[in-house]
């Protein structure tokens, strides 16, 4: 019923607007075309300048209202460069924005049609055109130079001592795998995936490197220590989005990608910094991946080395979860045999 009423009201408003519009057309014909044009010109000229003034105030007001809701300081060392570049770009584009919008609307207002005013025949001026080709070109060169400097830093190889975490996307959650003590991830293949046998990633248990790998539901990182994400997907394209760290990388089936960064603040510190007791570092999926795309949420916990070590100590290896029948003593013996094999593999 209320829906019906709403439609009725909208239709009524339409009819009123239409009648006014029609009537104004008759009036303008009766008044004469020239007079009607002068009048509508004055009104629209005023509206243009009003739009400019209110618009610029609106831009300021909007910024005031929303600036507290964006992310604040970057939570990774690498993100600082991204933020700097954003500020530089904002300054340059902001100045251009204000100047051009003011020129556009102010000229439109100032040079509206007036009795006796003649337009100025001004087809071209080479000097002006060269100026406004060269100035943007210089500004852009600066931006490109800054941008590429940061870009090559962001995409450089991770430091040798970086921790490694494997993040695999699947519809619709993230599978997290740590390489364990040996620092190396075991081989995996999509035809080995067997969720029923606790092998969501498809780890090859015959690979000795896989024996000490463990999986987790959250990513745990050590504050101040670089970490390298090895990113993949087992079905469609996903994207590891790390808004607080200012980074992003696609997860593509069949093509591993990497991303590294150094977290600056622990989750606890961020809770204090933001004044938000619920603050969580989240991994968002930023590439449309199906009906559950919006719910593909991962959690990152940044903590101190001690907290991290305590957490790692509690994680059972995925191998032991996938082989519950194996005697509890077996892993130790395996590990010994493995280490010799690993060495052999490394020598090769």
């Amino acid at each position: 019923m209320s829906g019906f009423l709403a439609v009725l009201v909208v239709v009524l408003i339409f009819i009123v607007i239409f009648q006014i519009a029609k009537a104004s057309e008759y009036v303008s014909i009766l008044k004469g075309e020239k007079k009607a044009r002068e009048q509508s010109n004055r009104i629209n000229g005023f509206l243009l300048i009003a739009f400019l003034v209110l618009g610029l105030i609106g831009v300021y007001y909007c910024n005031d209202l929303l600036k507290g809701k964006i992310l604040g300081e970057s939570a990774s060392v690498q993100g600082e460069g991204v933020d700097t570049l954003i500020y530089v770009t904002l300054a340059i584009t902001g100045v251009v924005f204000v100047i051009t919008q003011i020129a556009l609307f102010a000229f439109a207002f100032k040079y509206q049609e007036k009795e006796g005013q003649k337009a100025f025949y001004f087809p071209h001026n080479n000097k002006l055109e060269v100026i406004w080709t060269v100035i943007p070109a210089i500004a852009l060169t600066v931006l490109v130079a800054f941008g590429l400097k940061h870009w090559f830093q962001l995409t450089s190889d991770a430091p040798a001592d970086a921790a490694v975490v494997e993040v695999t996307g699947k519809q619709f959650n993230w599978l997290i795998r740590y390489p364990g003590k040996d620092g190396q991830l075991g081989r995996k293949a999509n035809n080995l995936i067997d969720p029923a046998a606790s092998n969501e990633i498809g780890v090859d248990w015959n690979d000795p490197l896989s024996k000490d790998d463990f999986q987790a539901t959250e990513v745990h990182l050590v504050v101040g220590k670089p970490v390298k994400f090895v990113i993949g997907s087992r079905d469609v394209i996903h994207d590891v989005g790390l808004p607080q760290f200012r980074l992003k990388m696609d997860a593509v089936p069949g093509i591993p990608t990497t991303l590294w960064f150094t977290p600056k603040f622990t989750t606890k510190q961020m809770k204090e910094k933001t004044g938000n007791p619920d603050f969580t570092y989240e991994i968002s999926c930023d590439q449309m991946c199906g009906a559950g795309h919006y719910s593909m949420r991962g959690v990152i916990v940044v903590e101190t080395q001690e907290e991290y070590d305590a957490w790692v100590a509690k994680q059972p290896t995925q191998y032991s979860l996938a082989h519950p029948d194996a005697a509890p003593a077996a892993p130790a013996a395996d590990a010994k045999a493995d280490s010799t094999k690993t060495v052999a593999a490394n020598i090769k």
Partner: protein
Amino acid sequence: MSNEATLHSQQEVMHGAGAHDHHDHEHHDSFISKYVFSMDHKMIAKQFLITGIIWAIIGAFFSVLFRLQLGYPDATFPWLESILGHWAKGGRITPEAYYALVTMHGTILVFFVLTAGLSGTFSNLLIPLQVGARDMASPFMNCLSYWFFFLASLVMMASLFVQTGPASGGWTMYPPLSALGDASIGSKIGVDLWLTSMALFVVSQLLGGLNYISTILNMRTKGMSMTKMPLTIWSFFFTAVLGVLSFPVLLSGFILLLMDRHAGTSFYLSDIFIAGKALANEGGSAILYQHLFWFLGHPEVYIIILPAMGMVSEVLAISSRKPIFGYLAMIGSLFAICILAFLVWAHHMFVTGLNPFLGAFFVLLTLLIAVPSAIKVFNWITTIWKGNIRFTPASLFSIGFVSTFISGGLTGIWLGNSSIDIHLHDTYFVIAHFHIVMGVSAFFGMFAGIYHWFPKMYGRFMNNTLGYIHFWVTLVGAYLIFWPMHYEGMAGMPRRYFDYSTWTSFNQFEGLNQFISFVVIIVFATQLLFVFNFFYSIFKGRKMTTLNPWKATSLEWTTPIHAGHGNWPGEIPEVHRWAYDYSKDGRDFIPQTEPLGPNESAH
């Protein structure tokens, strides 16, 4: 009755003068050959326009539906269930329906409205009229071009009604999501229909594009050298070139996708485990599709914006009563944009794992596009400087175009820089950027074109007051909708999310999302007002009483008010000067057909 009389009393003045121009040039066409399978470029233009308007209403309505979900995620709207059925059980859109709506909104507006509806309409209408030709190089191909578009429309429309719903993987249709029916309900028959429809659409674009190019190159009237053409024609020319060179690449990408779906090939598929089993496909690259897609996809945004630029240049010059400033620079910048358009596609792929070194070149080339764009903006502003501007609805929309093109173009400098894109990629910042720069701007260009050339199409005017209301609500609304989205994007809020409430990083914008959705509804209603104005004016609008109501120089205003097939009853007029002699030598305007005076210099 008396009002009607007032409205149409002036027409008699002109009628006597024009009457003897009516030679027996018009054939007596049947209804079918005149209105359905017409080969008259003017009728085909109207067909493109009206089909485009219908699609625009559908596509925009879809955005209202998904904005309801975004603005009011907890509310239920029982009427939704009555129109969407099981896609909105209990009055709440399901995620599957949400993604289908988002995908269709993008596809419809990018391809069917802003490509076919925009360049299809105005290239067809204006190329023969402004270069002085009786019709297109091949009227039959032109007719086919519309009917392939119509077929594409039918197939796309049909896909909305199949049981598993239309394609829902986003308008870019990235595999593997779009390649595997098991990955999403929308990737079942919906994607096949989508690909079929798009293939037909590509055929339509090629038929149209080849025709536009050959008409412009070969069929210009006597004296109409390339540098005497209005900028509209230049922009349609570059648009057609972009389309002809890039659409086939898209088609090839689609064919490979179809083969991956049905012929067991692995162009895009590798190492996939889905629906409980590992697929045998190996060695394909999902990124290959993105290269093929964006090789069209990026030129596509210029296919959308160039015609708008051309029409805005024309309308701004006419309404300022000044020549367009820097005519040659305007052509040069169109040309530069056209070339660069082919060299920047991978800026959509900075975070796909693309080689960073390669990415660096795409950063450079992408930011280079800002130079010709800046030239155009400065030239438009200089065109209105010291003019004598008449604020018709068309000129207001042109000013609005320049404003939104600046706002949206500047954020392109942010996103084109890979180090910023790595944070903002696929967030609401991107949504804000491209909606302002190619959605709103292109629509403003299109509206400017419609208000300006409506008299040429139908011999009547649209209602001015409704036009002004349309402009002001749309301009203010567009900024209210998209400006705050930049902030959501800065917070990293990803696009294409059905619900943000479970995210601690993105749930702070609840009130803002509601506000945006509210404005969307108002702006949508205002567009319906425009549609009403359009159709009402076709039949009841104030009649055109003079041949050249805007006092323009170009050739289309030398044809009779209701020009038949062939456009000019007698000889095609000869052209002696460029199209921008406004306020020259103390004269308000000098038509292109007037020979240069003895002491007069060409521009």
